[in-house]
Subunit: 675 residues, 2 copies
């Protein structure tokens, strides 16, 4: 064991040396604490009493960045995209040139509501506990005023509530109770919902259901190690698995640009999308070929299926309303990942303008990935087996009750995989004795109603498949039209891929079916063997469709979730498919994707600089297995090279075993590669 520990330590050290970071500045590097401080001081010079909501890098315009990538040396300006507010719910959209220390743009948009920061969230609970009307409601449920320290709340964005549209920034407080400070509050939901005004720090209203639900009487059910040790004991029959990399990692980091197994890309991070991968290229035998210009999760929505007021407000846009960066976890070695780990930090702004840093926000590590390819010749038992390695860039963010684990995975065969694991705790509501949770929820524990919900993620893909003029094809597996017995299809087995190019933004909409994939292709460049356009195929099988009906509040607000795929002409400012300022927008008219398409429907998207928006996810009907904490549920989206390479691009990965027919016959020693 001591030896293993030593090896772990050596592995970490080697990881640090192997993945040595040299601080080369890249135009997409997130703002440093110093840069954030400059942006803050520039804004404060113009208006001293602002509260900061976000200070983040405004990425250079694509045209400028392309020039920089291609020529390399011209310095691009560093621009801070600032969202701030001041009394009277005034909002400021400001652009600051960091080097010039100057405001470049100062806008005061009306009727918009910036996202809810962690600081906005953190203060609500104490205010709720002191509010007389909340204390009164707690009293009705049997919680005495002396027990208000046992009352908790998950503050959520209010989504949209048509009763409150005076410009106030609001949150709704989902209410809970803990018998003891270490008990899980989700077992004790309270049935009322206070509405909180961010600026005045007041409870302005409480939604109280007609039919009251008393405080749950069930015993606590907890998942922390102390509780489990006491209640059921921890199992002791798992022998350790050690994963070590004594020679360090196989990647090199130059600043935030990573080089690994022919892949090269920049790892960005912002408060909203979290991890961003940019200028993703693959070294195809010396030819560095662009694949994706920029990839990120750009939005998500989590609609709940209970129609009773006010549960319809539960449809969080976790990225647009809170931010996957703001909510990200600091990750720790030996806990969230194994082997030689490299971390990157993330810096943000506090309300008061101070910069701060989340340590280890991004984890970079390699994993063994089983068999990469294998074949045995049945004639002679000559055989080759090659093991796979994968590179994982990951973050985990906590959105109130839920945890989202985001893994961007690069494979040696040119596949890019986005894996999302859902874990954490179900968002729960009270259930009265004798009341049924059906049909819109499940009683996962006595008195605990977990409403059905969906997690729908919007993947934003800015492709650069051998260049920026790309085209998306719907690809459907279809049987031949020729009937069984006909000359063209005598035995009835004929089938083919029907490829339909998406031509205009208005027509650049595609729904899912189980026989469908999408090719993102460069029709100007054909594969030397197949003659097909070089392409990356979007393979996605977790595409449940949006459950809220057409014309519903969620349908209006989450336009991106209406279809599996949208394709737009690239525009620098079109980054967020539910709009830039998401909270408290009615969705009438819809922001983001539907608005862009409506404004520019006839624009060609064939052989143009395009952006592909893909919505995928799961529909979650909770069950008691998900409580008190959910075993991680994984889902994946794949981007697979098809007709992109002239042959298998990972043939040169050393096999663990390889013999040839003549080698077997002549008794030559087979090739044996490393671990």
């Amino acid at each position: 064991m001591a030896l293993e520990r030593l090896q772990d330590t050596l592995g970490q050290l080697a990881g640090k040396v192997g993945g040595l970071t040299t601080q080369t500045r890249h135009p997409l590097d997130p703002l440093t604490e110093d840069e954030i401080a400059i942006a803050v001081s520039v804004v404060k010079e113009r208006k001293s009493d602002v509260i900061f909501n976000a200070v983040t890098l405004l990425e250079p315009k694509k045209a400028d960045l392309r020039t920089w990538v291609e020529s390399g040396d011209a310095e691009l300006p560093r621009m801070a995209d600032v969202i701030a507010s001041s009394k009277g719910n005034k909002i400021y959209d400001v652009l600051v040139d960091i080097k010039a220390k100057a405001v470049v743009r100062w806008e005061e948009p009306k009727d918009v509501y910036p996202g809810i920061t962690m600081e906005d969230l953190m203060v609500v609970e104490e205010i709720v506990r002191k509010d007389p009307k909340v204390i009164e409601q707690c009293g009705i449920l049997g919680i005495p005023p002396t027990d208000m320290h046992k009352v908790y709340c998950d503050p959520w964005t209010i989504g949209y509530d048509e009763r409150f549209t005076d410009g106030s920034r609001l949150q709704q407080a989902l209410m809970y109770y803990r018998p003891n400070v270490d008990d899980l509050q989700y077992t004790y939901p309270l049935d009322f919902c206070p509405i909180y005004n961010i600026e005045t720090q007041e409870i302005i209203h409480i939604d109280v259901p007609e039919k009251r639900r008393p405080l749950n009487k069930a015993p606590p059910t907890n998942y922390d190690a102390e509780s489990i040790q006491k209640e059921i004991g921890l199992r002791d029959d798992l022998k350790p698995i050690h994963i070590t990399q004594p020679e360090g990692v196989s990647f090199k980091l130059d600043g935030r640009t990573i080089d690994w197994q022919k892949w090269n890309f920049h790892i960005g991070f912002n408060y909203r999308e979290g991890i961003v991968l940019s200028n993703v290229t693959f070294n195809d035998r010396g030819n560095v070929r662009p694949v994706f210009w920029r990839i990120s999760l750009a939005e998500m929505v989590v609609p709940y299926g209970n129609p009773d007021h006010p549960h319809h407000r539960k449809h969080a846009f976790d990225l647009g309303e809170y931010g996957a960066g703001y909510m990200t976890n600091p990750l720790a070695m030996g806990c969230d990942c194994k082997g030689a780990i490299h971390y990157l930090d993330a810096s943000f702004v506090r309300k008061n303008g101070e910069p701060y840093t989340i340590k280890n926000a991004i984890c970079i590590h390699e994993e063994d990935d089983g068999i990469l390819f294998k074949h045995t010749d049945f004639r002679d038992e000559s055989s080759t087996t090659t093991r796979a390695r994968k590179l994982i860039i990951s973050q985990i963010f906590t959105a109130g009750n839920y945890e989202y684990c985001i893994y961007w995975i690069m494979h040696q065969d040119g596949v890019i995989q986005l894996e999302v694991k859902l874990t954490g705790i179900l968002s729960t509501y009270a259930l009265a004795p004798g009341e049924s949770a059906a049909p819109y929820g499940t009683e996962v524990y006595p008195g605990v109603n977990a409403h059905h919900h969906q997690h729908l993620f919007c993947l934003r893909l800015d492709p650069s498949i051998d260049g920026h003029a790309n085209t998306v094809f719907e690809v459907d597996a279809v049987a031949s039209d020729a009937p069984v017995g006909s000359r063209e299809n005598r035995y009835g087995n004929a089938f083919m891929a029907r490829k339909t190019p998406l031509q205009t933004m208005a027509a650049g909409i595609s729904d899912y079916n189980p026989s469908r994939t999408w090719d993102i292709a460069n029709t100007n460049k054909l594969n030397p063997h197949s003659g097909n356009p070089v392409s990356y195929k979007l393979v996605s099988r977790e595409v449940p469709g949006l459950m809220p009906k057409e014309g519903s509040l969620v349908w209006n607000r989450a336009g991106f979730a209406r279809h599996a795929v949208h394709v737009t002409r690239h525009a620098d400012e079109q980054q967020f498919p539910a709009g830039r300022h998401v909270p408290q927008h009615s969705g009438e008219p819809s922001q983001g994707l539907p608005a862009w398409i409506a404004a520019n429907g006839p624009a060609s998207i064939a052989n143009e600089d395009i952006v592909v928006w893909h919505t995928f996810g799961v529909t979650h009907f909770p069950s008691p297995e998900d409580y008190p904490i959910m075993p991680a549920e994984p889902m994946s989206v794949l981007l697979r090279p098809r007709n992109f390479f002239a042959q298998n691009p990972c043939l040169d990965v050393p096999p663990s075993y390889s013999s040839t027919p003549s080698g077997v016959r002549e008794g030559r020693r087979a090739f044996r590669g490393g671990a």
Copy 2:
């Protein structure tokens, strides 16, 4: 490095001690070599000149085995299921009582054709090379008679050919050429197809296309280490990852019954299905609960999409026509798996009746599986992270050109996963200069046409969800019928799970859509919290549907592939959904599932002893990336406990880190678990 090697060795030794096998006899243990020899001698006593096709365990009748499992001590007879043949294409279906050394049943069925064994396959190439008509055809393509040693063939079952129905057992030979003994022959397909008679060992016919395609002139493209070293060099930038288990494995084997992390089941194996998991139970806090009585891959079909004669014959039933057990690879440490590995061997019969054994046919090992569950309380940063472990029972079989890697994976949260990875080589056909491979194939390398195809697997699930009376429900996520704005659905977000029980065999058919899963439930037992029937949910997202049209040859022969799910009443003899003897059957009438359903349509399948048949897979449009060897393409089917457990069943897995709110506040040391 030396240290790592030593550790690997220690780990293996520990694995052997930890997973110590005691030879307890279980009624489902495959026949030993001795038992095979007994069966052979019993058959030979009655008829001395037979050729053995298969000698395999006939599993005890379910009723008897249930009694054995429940009472434990009664000894069940060991029965050998023998398929043999003799001159004149006579077939023998024989049942031998091993202990009594007696024939229990002797049948001589007409018009059936047993599977093709490895020995049947291995002899074809030499005969083809010597056949004058084949030599003539090779000459037409420019291969001189002196080069016939450079001619190769992949012998395939003929599938069904209406021209040859005289009772002869046939194979078709897909023809190839190697310029050099170590060159991949799939780069040099020959355009004609000899038909081979197994009994007479003659070529009885050659299918020659009207339009000839000359021998490919393209240079070889190989993937073995020697070739890659010479041609492009092996990459040298992968640092090793060591996976060690110095204290050995966490499972215990009693004979072939494995106990791991509350799971307990028997690991069977037969020539046809390969791995079979039986009597799968989960220890739910002391209560050993049955989950599945028997799980296996029972059949598969690989239809190719090119309608030109004779390519329609390319639709291998790799299990029913060849056998996933017969074709299984011997696995070797450090090559196919990592860590502490335990292997099981597999014994079969040769044509002449000699038993033989494939060493290391089954691999059993554990892997770290990332995060099992995690939550951080945003209020106070109290946090718990628990890592997952999984147990993998795997085999890899080579079906001519393709490799199928089969992983049966048990998870700590009660999930059973079947992962299949496809790798190996594409089956190729010749392409004339200037000829297009479209629309039914892709030119993956000059002159190499890889036809589109599907891989459709049939998973056979004999459930025992808390008992044998089970019911299957279609579960569809559906929006409420109530319109947006109505009293019941004011905001339009209402949705629910619509659960439809399948009632009879005739109606026990269900197609796939992206919002559908299936619950296998025991309606006699309700979850104590949710009140829903205890169940396992079949979650499968790779369900492309059968491409060959209704009424086509493949549709007729592969009845199981017409729908995603069939449910039948359990019957001991209904094991193979395309029939017991698959080769050379026309599919008119369809064997297996369609026949059973037609014979017993009104039989109830609700709250009965049922079997669930699930067809899943992929549609494969080849691309040059798949050549000369395919990077492994994974797909998975999940069986998830839903409403089965009263809570998360893996809460007692020791977390790697766990703190509580009071612990954080009071500065107590957090719980830190092992690696």
